[in-house]
Amino acid sequence: MKKLNIFAVIVALLFSLSATAEAQITEKPEYGKFAITGATIHTVTNGTIEGGVILIDGNDIAFVGQNIKITDEYTRIDATGKHVYPGIIDGWTGLGLVEISAVPVTVDVAEIGQFNPHMYAFTAFNPHSASVPVTRVSGVTTVLSRPSSGSISGKAAVMDLWGYSPDSMAVKKSGALIMNLPSKGGGSWDTRSEEEIQEQYENQIKEINDFLNKARFYDQMMKAYEADPSGKTKPDFDPRMEAMREVLTGDVPVVISVNDEEEILDAIEWTKGQQDMSFVFAGVREGWRVAEEIAEAGIPVLTTTLYTPSRDYDSYQRPYENPGLMAAAGVKVAIVSNDTENSRNTPFEAGYAAAYGMGTDEAIKAITINPAEIFGVADKLGSIEEGKQANLFISDGDPLEPMTNIEQVFIKGFKIPMQSRHIQLYDEFLNRDAVNR
């Protein structure tokens, strides 16, 4: 163990040295008034506009449409023959929290303890992570960065991928509360008896219920005190309980990771007893088996497509079809990367859903407006509409296609430099010895 620690320290040193030594962005962004002209505009919420115009004014989209006179104060960007899409939202990633997953000192997703609603991904989000530019130049402009441990892992943050501080990047500091319900295990490696499994499950569920009930009591007590403090002793402040208050009003959704059919049904059953909170499921690999039930419960999902089937006897196509099958049953589906450094692959996860039953339009929604709605940021993000934040990109084709090039990305109205470590290394090494022979 000692050996490992020394190793980790050395790595950390190396890492911090090199990270500061290597600048990632040498160009400056542009900001102000832009007119993107001639493009096919995929608004997502209001259909497609051929040869349209988007005016960006500062942070926001000022106009979307066809007939408008563009004044000289706008910098024109000719996008004839190109496509414009709203920025892709990856609704499930460790981006910003994990630099190198195999080097523990660079991994900030798992705090010690079972109940940590007061841990904020926002706090640990590293704006200078090498992965941030790599991700945003691929058209992913916004992510939900989430912690993951214990029963209540903490709060995930909705972050725009441009800025030099979490504060300037945060769309919503409390994007979601991340929860894990106990697992019933039951794989071939699980040696417990069915009774033991059930008993342990119930004990763990009870712990969670007790915690939530305590939080409800705390909230009511505090409300009573806040409404009229006179003559009352102020109750002690409890950061955990305090952090639960915005969840108990339903304002901050609770994301629960579930995958197997049984897990999903158990979770639905459990959420029925928690009417004061709103829920989202993440993972949901066997959602297609119980799509009706998920739809009926009104629980939206964050899911992926590129994984091997969950059961030996499943069709190989099922993971690809799963989002479409859930959507067809009436579930609101967001497609996510469930990745960190390759959060940029979110559109290809959606591409598989598109090809296997969901269709392109719905799959695009699943990486734009749907996650925006799920995390309560659809007033700003998720579509190209006047008044919304200017998170969008220009591409030479369908962004679900891996061969498509993302040519220019805007985040919060910034025309961002299309630079990243990957591109820099390309520039440096494509023709390494051109001069130095």
Binding site: A130, E262, T304, T308, S310, A354, M403
Partner: protein
């Protein structure tokens, strides 16, 4: 426990089929519009227009569709019984040929993704790991029947973090550093050469003694499997596929191989190969890389998704591999990313999952392109194979159809565990996602965890 369902093809069945009116991506001779491909008895007989099907040969109308050579994955652990013999830093004597599970349902899943050949590799726990085996995805065949007949022999080497973690940190034996890795390789090559000299001397003396029955007989030198294999490596009978990441360790191995005269080798993963593309090209070394994996461990932190394009532009024969059961199902789209990252041409990108891996496995005279005389390992795609919307519709190996989208039952197991009921946990597979890194070391991670538990 074994039953065949849905699979009618038998081991080494050579089939015949005429695929008509397709856009044929030959790889070596451009894309041919509206063209027919005739496969007879497992071999591509003719490519041309308006070919006539010989009597009894099935025809497939592929109007509007694409035909591409079957995808070849130069790095897979899809159906290994075990992956790592991780108890010694050098295990050249073990071979994945003896670790094939022909009943893995993932073989069918790979066929459905247009793959027809994989390089089943030993893992990366050891500096010199076991030998690999090139397999055709003849689902339903025996382990013997899956083998790519007369493919070149291969062996896995591994540099960097994995062997130093497993052996140095884990077992307290060399190597714990990249310095040690070099010396483990050199030391074993030298021992192998010494062994060869002594063994040959013994055999000669023995023959003399046995014939003449005079003088003093020689002290026997036992045959040594490990050193025999290492000598085969030095003599070029075995292609080396070396797990590696950093530019410095890639240079180190080329130096070592130059010293021992080893010429045919491929760097696997090689995330920093782009930094030494010139040196690779000069040595004729090849690379087999991920399209976009990076940053999952320290030695891939300073890497780029443009790796493949830089290598290609600098004349290095490069392939895109999966090392992952999920990526194996979607290697066409991994190749498409090479077009995105660095503007490699579509045909060059396709080469990276067909002809180039074939070259790296020493089977390019038989597969990797659609040419008359090559094996009938072809896939009919609904659209251009690099498009995300395209699906493999039919996958042929040796002219025999092993996958047909029109006849594609859900449950394709051929090995059934009668002890598992429908809802039984043992039916639940370990899920492999697109990003599960280092399948190479999957079983060694378990090893290391247990070591930590045992020694903490």
């Amino acid at each position: 426990m074994i039953a065949a369902f849905g699979i009618t093809a038998q081991a080494q069945d050579k089939g015949s089929v005429l695929i008509q009116n397709a856009t044929v991506i030959t790889v070596t001779n451009g894309d041919l519009e509206d063209t027919d491909v005739l496969i007879e008895d497992g071999i591509i007989r003719e490519i041309g227009k308006d070919l006539r099907a010989p009597r009894g040969v099935e025809t497939v109308d592929a109007t509007g569709k694409f035909v591409m050579p079957g995808i070849i994955d130069a790095h897979s652990h899809l159906n290994g019984v075990d992956i790592n013999e991780a108890r010694n830093p050098v295990t050249a004597e073990v071979t994945m040929e003896e670790s094939i599970d022909p009943n893995e349902v993932g073989i069918y899943h790979a066929l459905a993704g247009g793959a027809t050949t994989i390089h089943l590799m030993h893992g990366s726990a050891n500096v010199i790991g076991g030998q690999g085996e090139t397999l055709k995805l003849r689902y339903g065949a025996s382990q013997e029947g899956m083998k790519f007949e007369n493919a070149k022999r291969t062996i896995k080497f591994a540099l960097g973090e994995n062997p130093t973690r497993v052996h140095g940190q884990g077992n307290g034996v060399q190597p714990r550093t990249r310095m040690g890795v070099e010396q483990v390789i050199r030391g074993h090559f030298d021992e192998a050469l010494d062994y060869k000299r002594k063994r040959e001397a013994y055999l000669e003396a023995k023959a003399n003694y046995d014939r003449r029955q005079r003088g003093t007989p020689p002290v026997p030198v036992a045959e040594n499997l490990r050193y025999e294999v290492l000598n085969d490596v030095i003599e070029g009978e075995i292609l080396v596929h070396c797990h590696s990441y950093r530019a410095d360790e890639i240079l180190m191995l080329m130096r070592v191989f130059n010293d021992y005269g080893i010429e045919d080798y491929t760097f696997q993963h090689a995330n920093e190969a782009f930094k030494v593309a010139n040196e690779l090209a000069k040595n004729g070394a090849m690379t087999s890389v991920f399209s976009d994996w990076w940053a999952y461990k320290f030695e891939v932190y300073y890497s780029t998704a443009y790796n493949a394009s830089i290598l290609n532009a600098n004349g290095v024969v490069n392939s895109i591999n999966s090392d992952n059961d999920q990526l194996l199902r979607t290697l066409n789209h991994e190749a498409a990313k090479v077009v995105r990252y660095g503007d490699t041409s579509v045909n060059d990108a396709i080469k990276m999952i067909t002809l180039h891996p074939a070259i790296q496995l020493g089977i390019d005279d038989r597969v990797g392109s659609i040419e008359e005389g090559k094996h009938g390992d072809v896939v009919v795609w609904s659209g251009h194979p690099l498009s995300i919307y395209s699906k493999a519709e039919m996958t042929f190996v040796d002219g025999t159809k092993y996958f047909d989208l029109e006849n594609d039952p859900d449950d394709m197991r051929i090995q059934i565990n009668p002890g598992a009921d429908y809802d039984d946990g043992s039916n639940f597979r370990e899920i492999v996602t697109r990003r599960d890194e280092d399948a190479c070391l999957q079983d060694s991670f378990i090893l290391m965890e247990e070591q930590n538990n045992a020694y903490n």
